[in-house]
């Protein structure tokens, strides 16, 4: 265990002082010595442990996992927000008290219990015992939420902050958890009326509607967990949020057009989600996130100056939607084996059109601001915005194509790949591969199954780039 923790920059002192907690957390999560060995192998093979910034960032994830597992027995009031949309609105909750633990648990579970320990299937199977059979369009990310509660890997929360902002499955799962465990649910919602040509402007009706539901949800939340959410909490939460977004944006902006690509997308995703999707009070308060970002930026600069990268210079470059997560061998294959450079993803970078919205909250309430951070994103705004945003990303990353490996069981994302592909190819001339997969459930798709398609796509892009097809 110590060897594993040291891979992620845990100090001797921290290991000593935290040993009992970590042991308890691992025991509760069913992590045994074989799992720890597997985690060491996975970390060494798939994570860029040469980079101290990356080791720090992954250390934050591991600490977050331990906090999540133990939050119940440590007497916290527990609130689960939902991925991918609501965490921006939970930052105010995160800072309000040491006694309140707020997170998006599935993000932590997939990244640590899945990518590192390779145990996510255990949670998925547990959820399947509750009427969520596999390959029936159930979101496997949310299956992990239900399965982890069922197996006691994470505690039953005191409150679920549900949202139908982007996806209808999220509130449905929370409804199921409410029915099984009698957990109160507070809802936020959005009216999806934004349409063609509006992005990056935010639709007024959506703006008002979402912020009002967030306001109501905060009021209700305060009553249920018996903590008033003060304006001061909101200010601090907004401060953390802006700080994390700007730090992350700095990294993304720096690396996106570098050739060779200095870090892999799996690693990029790890820091992207620290800033934008999870709520981790301790990491924010100790300034750990900012320090890790700074370190990583420095290390990336060194790599770029030395001409080092994770793929060869001149490799075909693709923008992607979301990287593969619970099975890191897929992302590894794309970059290290097939030689595709993946410098940019939908979730990673707030392009120029979004940044002015994200960094400005002058004269507006926190609720309005939190809603706007989400509404501004091209991937959430509308299909029209999704297409334009993707085109902008491809251009910003000097990419040769767009690889959309969409999760089969993700209803919002599985519906549109071929519509988007058609427009990107025919209107903008961007080669696009729509590839069915499941980033959160590795039982249905393997690296080998996808190899031929990805190799072919890489060869097509390489030939277009080199004009050497003859």
């Amino acid at each position: 265990m110590e060897e594993l923790l040291k891979l992620f920059n845990f100090s001797e002192d921290e290991i000593k002082s935290e040993k009992d907690r970590i042991k308890r957390a691992f025991k509760k999560a069913g992590i045994d010595s074989a799992d720890i060995e597997r985690a060491k192998l996975n970390a060494r093979k798939y994570l860029d442990l040469e980079l101290e910034g990356m080791r720090k960032i992954y250390g934050i994830w591991v600490r977050e996992f331990i906090d999540l597992v133990l939050a119940g027995e440590e007497g916290k009031k527990i609130v689960y927000g939902i991925y991918p949309t609501f965490p921006t609105a939970t930052d105010a909750l995160m800072v309000m008290s040491e006694d309140v633990y707020v997170t998006s648990p599935e993000v932590v579970l997939d990244n640590v219990y899945g990518t590192l320990f390779g145990k996510i299937n255990r949670l998925l199977r547990a959820a399947e015992d509750h009427g969520m059979p596999p390959a029936r369009a159930h979101c496997s990310l949310l299956q992990a939420r239900l399965g982890a509660i069922e197996l006691g890997v994470m505690p039953v929360p005191d409150l679920l902050l549900a949202t139908g902002f982007f996806c209808d499955q999220a509130p449905e799962i929370d409804e199921l958890i409410h029915r099984i465990y009698d957990v109160p649910v507070v809802y936020t919602d959005r009216c999806m009326v934004a349409g063609a040509g509006e992005w990056p402007d935010i639709n007024e009706r959506e703006d008002v509607y979402l912020s009002e539901t967030i306001e109501e949800a905060f009021e209700e939340t305060g009553k249920i967990i018996d903590h008033e959410i003060t304006e001061g909490d909101k200010d601090r939460g907004a401060g953390f949020l802006v700080q994390a977004i700007l730090a992350h944006n700095g990294l993304a902006e720096y690396k996106m057009d570098k050739d060779p690509c200095p870090i892999s997308m799996l690693d990029s995703y790890n820091f992207a989600f620290l800033g934008c999707a999870t709520a981790m009070r301790r990491a924010y308060e100790n300034n750990e996130i900012i320090k890790a970002h700074e370190m990583l930026l420095l290390e990336m600069r060194e790599r770029v100056e030395e001409g080092k990268g994770v793929v060869e210079e001149g490799a075909p470059r693709v923008a992607i939607n979301i990287p593969n997560w619970v099975d890191p061998s897929l992302q590894y294959m794309q970059e290290k084996e097939i030689g595709l450079a993946v410098p940019i993803s939908h979730y990673e970078y707030f392009i120029d059109k979004e940044i002015p919205i994200v960094t400005s909250m002058e004269g507006m309430s926190y609720e309005r601001y939190a809603g706007r951070v989400m509404l501004a994103k091209g991937i959430f705004h509308s299909i029209d915005a999704f297409i334009d945003y993707t085109k902008d990303l491809v251009e910003a990353g000097n990419c040769d194509g767009f690889l959309w490996e969409y999760p089969f069981s993700c209803r919002p994302l599985a519906i549109t790949p071929y519509m988007v592909k058609k427009v990107l190819e025919e209107e903008y001339g961007i080669p696009t591969l729509a590839l069915e997969g499941d980033k959160y459930d590795s039982r249905f798709y393997s690296a080998e199954q996808q190899r031929t398609r990805l190799e072919t796509f890489a060869e097509i892009l390489r030939e277009r780039k080199e004009k050497s097809w003859q």
Partner: protein, 257 residues
């Protein structure tokens, strides 16, 4: 100097020897369980037909799902680009390709200059592949896979067979057989099912005119007819549709020789 293309597919392994754009010889054999052994064997056969030895080959490219197991290849490439190159060589006006092999099917869209600009492949099931036909030929005790196409063409009352899964379709055929459907009508339904499956998959690309049908299944006249009816356009079939991948690999090998 001669070059070779090796296409190791799920069902068959093919080698084609080329020199200055001229085909010197080719051979096709069953892949079987030992890919390396099959590749060696089919290479020997092709060399023999070309009247050459291994040392006469300047460059060899392997393709197909077994491409990474061909020890003697100088490099490997995915089969889609090789098929496109081979077909473009044989039929220069080609706009798109339907390739149905032993265990996969693919639709490829080409630009005018022959570059691949789009492709789709079956990703979960063998229902639109040669394996589907093999299973059905077995169930209906036709004897040889080569007979099923001509037999199916005799049908005047095609049975309706599911196209979603090879195993379910097998059960369905057994059940229809028990209900009294004759073998010929069932075979016709099976061919309709494979065509429907493949055309649905191919809707992911633009099927242009001068569409070419390749792969081992292109030798089956009933699949060709069913595909043409389903697509509403004629398909061109090369004289030997099974070797286009190996030919494309060999043509690409010439670029390295």
């Amino acid at each position: 100097m001669a070059v070779a293309g090796v296409d190791v597919g799920a069902a068959t392994a093919k080698v084609l020897i080329l020199e200055s754009g001229e085909i010197l010889g080719y051979s096709i054999t069953l892949t079987g369980a030992d890919i390396k052994k099959s590749a060696d064997k089919v290479m020997e056969q092709a060399l023999q037909k070309a009247g050459l030895s291994k040392s006469d080959l300047k460059f060899t490219i392997s393709t197909g799902y077994g491409r990474n197991f061909v020890d003697f290849a100088d490099r490997s490439m995915s089969e889609i680009l090789c098929h496109a190159r081979g077909v473009k060589f044989l039929i220069p006006s080609v706009g798109s390709i339907i390739d149905i092999g032993g265990q996969d099917s693919k639709a490829i869209e080409l630009e005018e200059d022959g570059r691949v600009c789009n492709f789709v492949m079956n990703d979960k099931c063998a229902a639109g592949t040669g394996r589907f036909l093999e299973v059905m030929a077995n169930v209906l005790e036709v004897g040889s896979i080569d007979k099923i196409g001509p037999l199916a063409l005799k049908s005047r009352n095609h049975a309706r067979i599911s196209n979603t899964c090879t195993i379910f379709a097998e059960t369905e055929v057994v059940s229809l057989r028990a209900q009294g459907w004759n073998r010929i009508d069932l075979l016709a339904g099976i061919h309709d099912a494979i065509a429907s499956r493949v055309v649905t998959m191919a809707s992911g690309i633009r099927l242009k005119d001068d569409a070419v049908f390749t792969g081992g299944v292109a030798k089956n006249v009933a699949v060709k007819k069913a595909l043409e009816e389903e697509m509403g356009k004629k398909l061109l079939v090369p004289d030997e549709p099974q070797i286009t991948g190996a030919l494309g690999a060999a043509l690409r090998a010439e670029g390295f020789a």
